[in-house]
């Protein structure tokens, strides 16, 4: 069952890449950034934030990741490294890709709040593009950024703004940032409320839906088109409930997915939906709403954005990860958890055995499947389906 909003999403994505080219053609600044970076600041300063992971996800979804990874592998990057890194770096080296040659960056901005691999990834890009690079330092925290950690994140945000001003000539305007953050907040609220519509039995959306629609949450936060899209998505999801139109009308199982999706096989969710298995929530798309971090205060948006950067979902320890899982398992009435052990995301994956053990101790059936979010080599779909079916045999609704 296709969402009407998906048509709009395609327009958003193509508009984003078209804007990227327009910025390049007109000599306006382009920053290649990673997902932990607050795009609100970039939009407020009219600097185009090109999210490299998003581009990687696009390569994955189009099943082109391996094609470009091979360029990186030929350059000497090991096949064991993150497939986002390999596919995007390979696309850069090859000067090819779904949008043609990638427009060159004016600057690079990275943050350590998701993984250490980003640092190596940006070193490769830095060497290949030879443009100034800024590292937003974000040490890990137990639960959330507070005290001296939050003060440090605020100082890093300000240091980043100074870097942006210096390297692009663009001026930072706090009032403009407040306008952008206001839109961003509204969108995060709508995203959460759309997610929470999935608490309905049956859920109005499948597991694939929000993974597909998370693009604006990452790359367009604070823009008008982002807000427009989220309103559309929310409205359509709500109408589905009203009209009793559900993609999995008889939900035998309501499962939770942990980690990135397998971008090259989002149809896996459709396949499982045919068997009455619906993924009604996940930890990845939750990270983009405001459920766990609240809204960014308009009184002090720099502090609010710093709080988000510092306490990002992959920058916290296991106790917070477990707390988030238990919270959404209860809220969404989940009866089984599938941990996607993603070979290309160690920071997300390497505590999943422990988390699964602890969930089982809490009486929540959990399994681990192994795959790679972008690399199709060594992918064993049948085995994954069989394992998820085994989880479903633990009990039907």
């Amino acid at each position: 069952m296709r969402l009407e909003a998906t048509g709009n999403l395609k327009k958003l994505i193509s508009g984003y890449y078209s804007d990227l080219k327009k910025y390049a053609d007109s000599g306006k600044p382009i920053a290649w950034v990673n997902v932990g970076i607050p795009c609100e600041i970039f939009y407020a300063m009219d600097i185009f934030p090109f999210y490299v992971e998003n581009y990687g996800a696009m390569l994955g979804a189009r099943k082109e990741a391996v094609k470009y990874s091979k360029f990186a592998e030929t350059d000497g990057v090991s096949k064991h490294t993150c497939s986002y890194l390999r596919s995007t770096y390979g696309s850069l080296l090859s000067k090819e890709g779904p949008i043609g040659k990638l427009p060159e960056p004016t600057i690079l901005v990275e943050t350590s709040n998701s993984c250490v691999t980003v640092l190596s990834w940006w070193r490769l890009i830095e060497k290949a593009t030879n443009v100034p690079c800024f590292l937003f330092d974000s040490p890990m925290v137990e639960y959330e950024s507070s005290g001296n950690h939050l003060a440090y994140q605020v100082s890093e945000t300000k240091r980043m703004i100074r870097f942006l001003e210096e390297k692009t000539g663009k001026r930072f305007d706090l009032n403009r940032l407040k306008e952008v953050v206001k839109i961003s907040n509204e969108g995060k609220r709508l995203w959460r409320e759309t997610m929470e519509l999935r608490t309905n039995h049956p859920s109005p959306l499948t597991g694939a839906d929000l993974f597909t629609h998370m693009f604006p949450m990452v790359a367009l936060r604070g823009t008008e088109q982002y807000l427009e899209h989220l309103r559309m998505l929310y409205k359509e999801t709500k109408e589905r409930i009203k009209r009793k139109e559900f993609p999995v009308a008889k939900e035998k199982h309501r499962f939770l997915w942990d980690n990135l999706p397998i971008w090259h096989d989002l149809r896996l969710f459709e396949e499982l939906a045919k068997k009455g298995i619906n993924f009604v929530t996940d930890t990845y798309t939750q990270a983009w709403g405001d459920k766990f971090m609240g809204e960014v205060s308009l009184d002090d948006p720099i502090k609010g954005l710093a709080y988000y950067t510092g306490g990002g979902f992959l920058n916290v320890h296991i106790k917070k990860r477990l707390a988030v899982l238990l919270d959404i398992i209860k809220l969404y009435d989940v009866d089984g958890v599938v941990f996607h052990a993603d070979r290309s995301c160690k920071s997300y994956s390497l505590i999943q055995v422990q988390l699964a053990d602890q969930l089982r101790q809490n009486g929540i059936p959990s399994i681990i499947i192994e795959a790679d979010h972008n690399d199709t080599r060594d992918y064993n779909r049948d085995s994954i389906i069989a394992r998820i079916e085994t989880l479903s045999e633990m009990g039907e609704r």
Binding site: V77, H80, T81, L85, L119, L124, I318, S349, L350
Partner: protein, 376 residues
């Protein structure tokens, strides 16, 4: 009292072979750590023995059932040692966010440690005045945690003394490196590794004293013609396999420079007095030291390596990559290009925490020795 150079060397070799025997005689509580960003000075100031945990040579028993197989094998080994009880002689462990695999180990251990001491240092990646302030605060919290947990006091005097002892050790190790680099001290790769690796295992005062005496009394061993061996550098993060260095010896590759986490990178840079205080001084040193690839500043590391290679006249670099180490696997092409630009040949050898096939290693090192030997 051992006062003969070869006797000291024999003692170093023995301790390296069976560190557990040596550690049994340590009469202080022992705190473990796994990587070179945890400041030993704070542990020592609590009158405890800071012990760098090395991967052991044993097969994994339980570690791989608690973490995914694509974690780096060194981290799986560490987890195995923790979960299997091999490290139960420790009073506790300290982690920082070193890499994505080790953060996994830290979290898993946090949930399985029972009541043993555990501390995770939120660690900055860069060296700025703000990051130094931040780390300084975090190191003070570490000291408070140790004090509270073990009901002990960490005084300023104790930290000052611990800094003095660690600095003295660093100077001794750096002098040793310098002599080897200049060819004034000829030593096999395996002995070089044994001596350096013990600096973070043995008691610092005892180690420094022994190393200083070894250096003072050093005379080349007449029956080993090291001068004709091929000088090489070994780069990487974690390489703790004695077999590896013994294989280098076999094929005539002599390590005169290293760029390993617990090699030269652990000792370069002393702690200087800071008006802002002792924790600031410690933080400044650790954030400014030659970084590992996990910290992002690869240029500084490569510059150091290239300089060391030049000064030592090394003929090539052996780059040891631990499988599934994203940072090293991704940055190898950069390192390789930079070294080749400087006309320094490099070979990458990938492996685990121990050498699974010495035959294969021997063949590759022989081929490398032949290749760079011809350039002599």
């Amino acid at each position: 009292m051992i006062d003969n150079c070869s006797a000291i060397l024999d003692e170093f070799r023995t301790i390296r072979k069976t560190p557990e025997t040596y550690l049994k005689n340590i009469d202080k509580p022992i705190i473990g750590y796994f990587e070179t960003y945890v400041p030993e000075e704070i542990i020592a100031a609590a009158n405890m023995h800071p012990l760098r945990i090395s991967p052991d040579n044993a097969p994994i028993t339980i570690g791989n059932s608690k973490i995914e197989s694509f974690a780096c094998p060194v981290s799986i080994n560490f987890l195995d040692q923790l979960l299997s009880g091999k490290l139960s002689f420790l009073q506790g462990v300290i982690f920082s966010r070193y890499c994505d695999s080790m953060r996994g180990v830290a979290d898993i251990w946090q949930e399985n440690r029972g009541k043993s001491f555990y501390h995770f240092i939120p660690y900055p990646t860069i060296a700025t005045s703000e990051s130094i302030n931040f780390l300084s605060d975090e190191l003070e919290k570490l000291a408070e945690h140790i004090s509270d947990y073990f009901n002990t006091k960490i005084s300023e005097e104790a930290i000052t003394e611990a800094i003095r002892i660690s600095n003295k050790k660093r100077l001794a190790v750096l002098k040793f490196y310098d002599l080897v680099k200049k060819g004034e001290l000829l030593i096999s790769s395996s002995d070089f590794f044994a001596i350096v690796s013990l600096a973070t295992i043995m008691d610092s005062i005892e180690y420094t004293e022994k190393l200083e005496r070894f250096i003072d009394q050093y005379e080349p061993v007449s029956n080993q013609n090291f001068g004709s061996n091929i000088k090489v550098a070994v780069s990487g993060i974690m390489l703790e396999s004695m077999q590896f260095f013994e294989t280098m010896d076999k094929v005539g590759l002599r390590m005169t420079v290293d760029d390993l986490m617990f090699g030269s990178r652990a000792f370069k840079g002393l702690i200087s007095k800071e008006k802002a205080g002792l924790y600031q001084a410690i933080a400044k040193r650790y954030l400014n030291k030659v970084p590992c690839s996990v910290k992002g500043n690869l240029d500084l590391r490569i510059d150091e390596l290239v300089n060391d290679c030049r000064e030592s006249g090394t003929k090539g670099v052996i780059f040891y990559i631990v499988t599934f180490c994203d940072s090293e696997e991704a940055e190898y092409p950069i390192l390789k290009k930079r070294l080749l630009e400087k006309k320094i040949p490099v070979i990458a050898i990938e492996g685990g925490y121990r050498i699974s096939s010495t035959g294969q290693l021997l063949t590759r090192l022989e081929a490398f020795a032949e290749q760079i030997g011809e350039r002599l």
